[in-house]
């Protein structure tokens, strides 16, 4: 594969995007790809939006994804999907967690959480929408929501030859391997 593929993971501080992107980039680099991953630290822990950008291919230069260049965007929160849609490539895919986290202006009653986001996104792009948090809770651990989304993402990426379950085993806390693998499989089932 000579071209560079671009993946964006977007969400809100504390949703576990960092671990998901770590597993993703480890898997890709072990498969022999050149990988660059970029994230913005700083004020994200205080309720700001967070984004992780992963680029891989034979040779990657820029560590960040340009507008209209993302092959897949995984949104851990649906308003974040809306915020980042202009980064999606024409024909790119979205994986959207049907989950709302209001921002401070919304909580203060100054702004309204936009209505009809999912309809809008499904109309504009090829998107898989599901409730990752509920799936994780049904499996018995709501904290595996990020791995549910990772499962959906790797399915949407469709990169052969990577044993994702092995990468997960090596990157999650000891004793939590099996629950995370279940979460990963449940996520993959959400993408056709």
């Amino acid at each position: 594969m000579s071209e560079v593929k671009n993946i964006l993971l977007v969400g809100v501080g504390g949703q576990g995007t960092i671990l998901a992107s770590k597993i993703l980039s480890e898997g890709l680099s072990q498969a022999g790809y050149d990988v660059k991953m970029s994230e913005i630290h700083g004020m994200s822990q205080r309720g700001g939006n967070v984004s992780t950008q992963i680029r891989f291919g034979k040779k990657v230069y820029s560590p960040i994804v340009g507008k209209g260049e993302a092959d897949v965007i995984v949104a851990f929160e649906k308003m974040e999907a809306l915020r980042w849609i202009e980064y999606l490539k024409q024909g790119g895919k979205m994986v959207i967690n049907d989950f709302e986290i209001p921002s401070v202006p919304i909580q203060q009653g100054i702004a309204k959480y936009p209505e009809g986001i999912l309809e809008e996104l499904l109309h504009k792009a090829k998107a898989s929408v599901f409730k990752a948090g509920e799936i994780a809770s049904e499996l018995g651990n709501s904290k595996t929501m990020n791995i549910v989304l990772l499962g959906a993402l790797t399915k949407a990426m469709d990169i052969p030859g990577i044993d994702w379950e092995e990468v997960i085993r090596n990157n999650v806390k000891k004793g939590f391997e099996e629950i995370n693998i279940k979460a990963f499989r449940a996520g993959a089932d959400q993408v056709a």
């Binding site: 004020m43 309720g47 230069y61």
Partner: protein
Amino acid sequence: MKQLMTGNEAVARGAYEAGLTFASAYPGTPSTEILENMVQYKNDLYCEWAPNEKVALEAAIGASIAGARSMAAMKHVGVNVAADPLFTFAYTGVTGGCVLVSADDPGMHSSQNEQDNRNYATAARVLMLEPSDSQESKDYMKLGLELSEKFDTPVMLRMTTRVCHSKSLVSLEDRVETALIPYEKKIAKYVATPANGKALRRKLIDRLKSMEEYSNHAEINHVEYNGSEVGVISSGVAYQYAREVFGEDVSYLKLGMTFPMPMAKIKEFAGKVKKLYVIEEMDPYIENHLKMAGIPCIGKELIPEMDELNTDIVRKAIFGISTETIQSEKEAVVRPPALCAGCPHRGFFYALKKKKNIIITGDIGCYTLGSAAPLSAMDTCICMGGSISAGHGAAQALKKNGSDLKVVSVIGDSTFFHTGINSLMDVVYNKGNSVTVILDNRITGMTGHQENPGTGFTLMGDVAVEVDIPLLCKAIGMKEENVITINPLDLKATDQALTAALAKDEPTVIIAKWPCILKKFSEQDKKEFDLTPKKCEIDQETCKKCKSCVRTGCPAISSGDQIIINPDSCTGCSICKQVCPFDAIREVK
């Protein structure tokens, strides 16, 4: 086996592999993780958090003079604080190799300004290296220590946010121990009196010549020749953007060493191409060097002089092309950062907001978010430690001019230790009357929880002596009754302390002491503060929807058809309960 590492991890690894034994830093985004990553090598080297960047660099200078390889790391504005020793250190040179890591923040992701610290290299005349990815971050750190010893100069390793915080693949090597260089007394070299300084100044000029000679032949100033039509000169992460946008068909001069600039190599490269672009972030640093040498090039007339670059910006600027994007008419609501649910600063700022006829001078830390609506309880934020001194100046000027406005200066614990102590001495010594509030949340919060001289622990995890802030205030001359410690989650006590302090015409200090809610609590924290988990809940039948609780700005509280406290994020700090006029909020276990 290659490993994915951030630039910051790679710098720490490079220092380790190069046999460095001393590292010091003050935390600051995007540089913080460099020293955090040094700790894993603590069996082989020593590392510490300094109270500020000047102290960090001076300590690294001392380690170098003592014969060890050393480094200091800081964010771009930290170099301003450390500039005093830097300029003279450029004169004296080193014994053990010494690298100053400057992590610039183009685009101001987490900074109060945007400054291009490459200008420091030319101003101080220190050798500068600019990595563009993690492998180079490691390699240049090692090379920097070698070149520092070879040319007898401090070396600046200039990073930027995207280099610091992007991961790419790095090949690891083993550590090579470097023996301490035996100490010799060198008064003429290290005592910068005017007489010695003049001699050192001449040596510095000679050193520049040999460094430029090296720069012209250095492999890290690398030419990739792909034809004579177009040439591109670039450095740092801007090179990565340029390389991607211009592709395989143009020629590149990728600069890894940008001071002294390899002017002979640049002239030769410029002579081989018909059209020459300079692609760089922020200032026209490379471009100005070319223009001074009479080399025509295209740079800042197309490429923006502010904000960080990316491939979109470079492509649009050079080729006028934008990638087609999917647009939506719907707009995502902004998601600004806010003080966390349970943050001890919230109670303090809520009480402070109620005070009239005051100017609030603020400082740098999480608590700068006290300036955000609905609290809006801050009027200024300039630089680390500036709250107390700017507040003092304002208070004296107001008083002299007969104004009845009073001043409250707000500063965090780590920032107080950084440079706030000097400012408080100014207030006491010069008989000021501003109110100084030290928000002591028992940790350096904003940068992600680093130890400091007040926390009782060091970077390497050892138990440390704690600064006794009340005793320190007394030692610099504050009256005992004018130094009071309060719990900022107790609104009544906070209000009373502020009222009493504002009524006085002499220096007062209020220490608002409560640990950061995100902190990993120490045994001492657990003993000193009631940190048992609690939640608050709104009784919907009693609630009159007056939104008093919403106006605390707590992100756990949502205002819709009902006012609701999200039990997952509430920590039971009880600020909302205290402000509710209808007793509709109760604590639940």
